[in-house]
Amino acid sequence: MMHTDWLLGLGGGLIIGLAAAIFLLVNGRIMGASGILGGLVDGTGLNIWRERVAFIAGLVAVPALVTLLAGAPDSHITRQPLLLAVAGLLVGFGTRLANGCTSGHGVCGISRLSERSIVATVFYLLGGGITVFLFRHQWGII
């Protein structure tokens, strides 16, 4: 059976790909979330700070508007501060060290068959898979 979730995933994915395609063809940039934010945070990408801020503003604005009109979407985010802090640190540190995350390496890199992006994607899937296996099935923490 083709689940509705899978169709929504495919549809949402196409919209994400369209967003990345526009950003590339008009502005000549890679739509990578960690790179766009990271370049602002560590000061390495301030030369195009307007583009970065505008992108993040759009990214934050649409879900905020949806929340305002229709209520907050399902999130299921944990409320454990320690877990959130450690996970956030790892995500920020790791994506900057690897020069990309799910959007930069996963969407933009794989679609041009970049070897580095394919390797990065294999490694973060591996890291995520091992973590969920250990923390959920072995230790029952998440």
């Binding site: 526009i22 399902d74 790791g94 060290l97 041009r112």
Partner: protein
């Protein structure tokens, strides 16, 4: 004007993340839960996103510059380094722990309350910590 299109692109990205369910940490952790109740949705999202982007790269290959006159980003050399592999492993670990990666972390900030704020602030701190380490590793 150069900021209008990034705003639209960011807005579409946010919409796509919502529609696809990738702002739902349970779905993302479900995708990573290969040995449990595996949820394949993320594969459809990634596949769907790669399609338009693959077309865009083909279009870009036939052009000198983007519409606003910027050069297209060069394809990075296939050279692998420890920053790429170790960084990606660490990122994956954090992604699995909470179910958020950088895009959805920003997209969901308006409704994720204190939890979302803690994650985003820690993520920004991690980005700042990475800068000197990256310099030492000699990664680009």
């Amino acid at each position: 004007m150069p900021a209008l299109v990034p705003f639209i692109s960011g807005a579409l990205f946010g919409l796509g993340l919502l529609v696809s369910g990738m702002t739902d940490t349970a779905k993302v952790q479900g995708w990573l839960d290969v040995f449990g109740n595996w949820d394949p949705t993320l594969a459809f999202v990634l596949g769907g996103a790669i399609l338009p982007m693959a077309v865009a790269w083909r279009v870009a290959a036939g052009r000198q510059r983007s519409l606003l006159g910027n050069p297209f980003p060069a394809k990075p050399s296939p050279r692998l380094d420890h920053g790429l592999t170790i960084g990606s492993l660490l990122f994956g670990a954090g992604w699995g722990l909470v179910g958020l990666c950088p895009g959805p972390a920003m997209a969901s900030i308006s409704y994720n309350g204190t939890s979302g704020a803690i994650f985003l602030l820690a993520m920004i701190a991690g980005m700042l910590l990475a800068k000197p380490v990256k310099a030492r590793l000699g990664a680009s």
